[in-house]
C-alpha cells in the first residue's frame, strides 16, 4: 500500500482514488495529475488484500490484471463505491465479466502507453457517476466501449453511489425556505432578441430533482461526485435584450451551491431585476464565464438579494457557440451575423467575449448571397469545356491531337510513321487550349466564374465581394471547472 501522491492539505470534500494495480504502472500518475494538483488523494495497492477498509475511496480504478476474484471481494467490502476496471482491448472478455459482476465502467486503455481520453473518462465518472447511470446519448459518446457492452451496461441496474444517492447535491443546496409572501419567483427569462425561440418551460425547471435531459433520453439524473463552490470573480447582470446591464455591478456577499447551481447573496445599488447572469469564475487556466438563469430572487432588505440561479439551458445560454458564430441561412444562402448581435461589443469591452475573424468568403457582388464557382469560358461563362490534348513527337517535332496518332490501338506518328511511340522517350503530351461547348471560343486558360445561388448572377470571381465572417469566443466554464475549481 502506498500513496502515489499527496498534497499538503487534505480536503475532505475532494475525492479519494484507489488504484488496485499488481504491476504498479506509472500511467495512473499521469491520468490523475489534474486531480493530484487539486489536492485529491490517490492510493494504490498491489492486490485487493492490501486495500485498507477504514477510509472508503470515491472511485476505485481496478486493473484487470489483478484478477476478478479480488474485484468481487473488494466490491463486497466497499459497497456503494464506484468501480472502474482498467485494461486494454484484448482483455475485453475479462472486462465484460467484471461489468456483469458489478463493475461500473471499463476504461479501455493500454497501460503502457499514454491513453487518450483516460483522464476524460475518470473525470466523467467523478462528475456524473457510472456510465450506466447516464442517458443513452452520453453513453454512446463514451470512448472505448463496444455497442454490446454499452447495451449491457444500459440494461444493468443503476448502481447506488454514496454521492449520487438521493437526494442529490442539488436538492441539498437549495437555500433554506423563506416565508412564502416574501418569495418572488423569477419569471421565465426573456429570451435574447436574436436568440432562437426558447422551448416552453417544462417540468424539468421545477426545483425538485428532475431529469436534466429530455424525456426521451430517460429520466436519469447525473450523479456528480464533486460539488465545489465556484470562486466568483466577476458578475454581470444581463438585460432582457442580451446586453450587459448599464448599472453598477452587484457585489457578491455570499455564495454557495455547486457549479451547476448557485445561491448568491448580492448587494446592489438598484433593484435587482435580472433574469440572467454572466458569472466569471477563476479557474486554474484563467477566468472563465458561465451564463446562469435566475430562478428566484429574495429581497433581503437594503438592496440585498438572495438569488437562486442555475446554469442556463443551451437555448438561453448567451455564451453558447451557436449565439456567438454567424450562421448560414440555407434558404437565402446568406450569412447572418451572430445571434448576439450588436450587444457583443459591450461584452467584448467587458472582456467576456473576444472578437475573432473566422473566415473570408466571396459572395455575390449584387446580393451578397453565396455563389458557386466553376472554371468556365472567359467569353460566355459556360462550364461545358472540352480540352484538346495533344502529342508532341520529339524526332520530327510534329504536334497534333491524340486522335491523329491513334491507329489500330497503338500510337503512330502521322508525319514520320514512327511506331510504336513511348511516352517521354519519343513523345510528350501537351495540354492544348480549352474549347467552349457553348460559344466555341478557345482559350489557353479558363476563368473562375461565380454563379449566385439567390439572384442567379454570373460574374467573374475577381469581382466577387469579399465578406469577412466574424464571430466571438468566450472562455466558457468547462465541466471540470464546475466541479473542481476553487
Amino acid at each position: 500500500m502506498k500513496k502515489l501522491a499527496e498534497s499538503n492539505k487534505r480536503d475532505a470534500s475532494l475525492p479519494r482514488f484507489l488504484v488496485v494495480d499488481p504491476s504498479g504502472h506509472d500511467c495512473f500518475e499521469e491520468w490523475l495529475t489534474p486531480f493530484l494538483d487539486l489536492g485529491c488523494e490517490v492510493e494504490s495497492a498491489r492486490s485487493a488484500a492490501e486495500v485498507p477498509l477504514e477510509a472508503a475511496p470515491d472511485l476505485v480504478l481496478y486493473v484487470l490484471d489483478a484478477g476478478l476474484e479480488g474485484l468481487a471481494a473488494l466490491q463486497k467490502s466497499l459497497p456503494g463505491v464506484n468501480f472502474m476496471v482498467v485494461g486494454p482491448k484484448r482483455q475485453r472478455a475479462l472486462a465484460e465479466q467484471a461489468l456483469a459482476g458489478g463493475a461500473h465502467e471499463w476504461l479501455c486503455a493500454e497501460l503502457e502507453e499514454e491513453a487518450e481520453g483516460a483522464f476524460d473518462a475518470i473525470e466523467r465518472m467523478l462528475l456524473f457517476g457510472p456510465r450506466a447511470a447516464l442517458p443513452k446519448r452520453r453513453a454512446r459518446a463514451g470512448a472505448g466501449a463496444s455497442g454490446e457492452l454499452l447495451a449491457r451496461r444500459e440494461a444493468a441496474p443503476e448502481v447506488e453511489s454514496r454521492r449520487s444517492a438521493p437526494p442529490p447535491a442539488r436538492a441539498a443546496e437549495v437555500p433554506p425556505p423563506r416565508p412564502a409572501p416574501e418569495v418572488t419567483r423569477a419569471a421565465e427569462p426573456a429570451p435574447a432578441a436574436a436568440l432562437p425561440e426558447p422551448e416552453p418551460a417544462s417540468a424539468a425547471r421545477a426545483p425538485e430533482p428532475e431529469p436534466a435531459l429530455p424525456a426521451e433520453d430517460g429520466p436519469i439524473e447525473p450523479a456528480p461526485l464533486l460539488t465545489r463552490t465556484l470562486s466568483i470573480q466577476r458578475l454581470y447582470e444581463v438585460e432582457p435584450d442580451g446586453g450587459p446591464a448599464r448599472r453598477p455591478v452587484p457585489v457578491v456577499e455570499h455564495q454557495s451551491g455547486s457549479g451547476e447551481r448557485l445561491d448568491l447573496v448580492l448587494a446592489c445599488v438598484q433593484p435587482f431585476t435580472a433574469d440572467t447572469l454572466i458569472v466569471g469564475v477563476h479557474t486554474p487556466s484563467g477566468l472563465h464565464y458561465g451564463c446562469y438563469e435566475v430562478h428566484a430572487r429574495f429581497p433581503l432588505g437594503d438592496w440585498r438579494y438572495a438569488v437562486e440561479c442555475e446554469l442556463a439551458r443551451p437555448e438561453r445560454d448567451l455564451l453558447a457557440t451557436s449565439a456567438l458564430l454567424p450562421t448560414l441561412d440555407t434558404r437565402t444562402m446568406r450569412y447572418r451575423p451572430p445571434a448576439i448581435g450588436e450587444r457583443a461589443r459591450a461584452w467584448v469591452e467587458l472582456g467576456v467575449l473576444q472578437e475573432r475573424e473566422l473566415d473570408r468568403v466571396l459572395v455575390c457582388p449584387r446580393c451578397q448571397a453565396l455563389p458557386t464557382f466553376r472554371h468556365a469560358c472567359k467569353r460566355c461563362g459556360c462550364a461545358a469545356l472540352s480540352e484538346a490534348r495533344m502529342i508532341h513527337h520529339f524526332p520530327c517535332a510534329h504536334v497534333g491531337p491524340i486522335s491523329d496518332y491513334q491507329l489500330d490501338g497503338i500510337l503512330i506518328c502521322p508525319k514520320c510513321a514512327a511506331r510504336p511511340l513511348i511516352v517521354n522517350s519519343d513523345f510528350e503530351y501537351l495540354e492544348g487550349p480549352v474549347r467552349c461547348g457553348e460559344c466555341g471560343a478557345q482559350d489557353g486558360q479558363t476563368e473562375l466564374i461565380g454563379h449566385c445561388f439567390d439572384c442567379e448572377l454570373r460574374f467573374v470571381a475577381r469581382v466577387a465581394t469579399p465578406l469577412v465572417l466574424k464571430g466571438y469566443d468566450a472562455a466558457r466554464l468547462a465541466a471540470l471547472d464546475l466541479g473542481l475549481s476553487g
Binding site: P395, A397, P401, P433
Partner: protein
Amino acid sequence: MLLDWLRWISAFRAEELLLLLSGLLFLDGSRYAFSTLLMLAWDVVLWCRDELFPRPELEPYRPHICVLLVGYNEASTIGRTLSTVYGSYPSMEIVVVDDGSTDGMAEVARAFAAEHAGVLVVRREKRGGKSSGMNFGLALTKAEVVVAIDCDSYLGENSLEMLMQPLRDPKVGCVAGTVIVRDPHKKLIVRLQAYEYLRSIFVGRLISARLGILGIASGAYGAFRREAILRANGWDVGPPEDLDLVLAIRKSGYKVACAQYAYCFTKTPEEWKRLFKQRMRWDESGVIRNHCRKHLDMVNPFAAHFTFSNFFLFLEQWVTNLFTLAGMWIWLVVTAITHADQLWNVGVTLYLGYLACEVLNALVILAYSSDRERDFRTCLVVPISPFYQFALLCQRTLSMFREGLFRTSFQDNFVPKHVRDVTWHW
C-alpha cells in the same frame, strides 16, 4: 607609300590586273554588287514601262491570318511585339506559345490577351524547341496564312498587308519578309550587321526571288500558306527550321516570294562573342546540313518533285557557300606565294576593289530604300565592311569544317537535349 602602290599597280597589264582582282569574285559583296546593279537596271526599265503604260491597281489581298509568336524567356519583349502586331491587319488572330519559359512570358502575354480579343496564349510546361512550338501553334489555328514572327521583333507600318500581297498568286507558298536591324546606329557591331542585313536581305533576297531561287524565309518574319505548311509536313527539328521548311515547301511545288518593304525590326547581337556564336549556328546548320544532306533529293533529276529552279537554287548555294569559300582560300594561298614580296600592295588593291563593290552596293540599297537617311547612316560603315566580311569568311570556313566533319549543328542548345538526342542526324 601610295605612290609606291600606284607605280606597282600601273606596271600591271590589264589581264594581269583582272587575274589579281579575280579574288574579289569569291567574296559576297562583289557578287552582290554586280547582280544588284543588273536588277536595278532592270527595275528602271520596268518603272519606265509602268510610267508609260500604267496598270490598274489591284485591291489589296487580305486573307485571314494567324500570327504565331513562339518564344522562350521573352517576357521582356513579348508585350511590345504583341502591341505592334495586334490590330495592324484587318483579319487576324494571334497565337502565343510559351515554350516552357521561366521568366513569366506567358503571364505577360496573358495579361495582354485579357484586354485584347483574338489573342490565344498557350504554355508548355517543358521546353520542346521552336519547331514543335510552331507546330503546336499551327494546330491551334485554321487561318489560311500563318505568319511567323520572332518574339523580340517589331513590325513596320502596314507590314503584314504588304507581306500578304505575293500570296495572291496561289502558287506562292511562302513569302519572306524583310528583316532589318532595330536601332542600327547603336554600336559599330550593330551597324555592321545592319548594313549586312540591308545588302543580303533587303536587296539580296529580291534578286533571288526575281530569279526564282529564293530558298529561305527568315524565321523572324515570314508568311506561310497553311496548305503549303501541311503539304510540307510542318516544321522539322532545327536549326534552321525556317530554311528547312522553305525547302520542303519548294519541294511540294510551291514558289517562294519576297515582300521587300514588309519590314520587321529585329534585335541583333551586340557582343562579338554572341555574334560569332549566332553565325556559327546559322552556317553550321545551313548549306551542309540541308543543301548537301537532308534535301539533296531536290536535285535528283529523276525525282518526281525535281524542278530546275530548285536545281539552280542548290547550285547557287553550293557555289556561293562552298566553292567560293574553297576558291578564296586557294586564291589567297596562291597569291601569297606568287606575290610574296608584294603582299601589302596586293592587300591594298583588294581592299580598294572590294570597297568599290561595296560602294556600288550601298548605292543600290539607297536607290531601293524607303528611309534613305537611316540607311545612308548605316552605309557609312562601308569602308570597314571588307574587314568584317573577311572575319565572317574565316568564321564560315570554320563552321563548314565543323559541320562537315562532326555534325555540330545537332549539338546546339537551341534545341532541347531530349529532342536533339532522338531526332534524325542528317
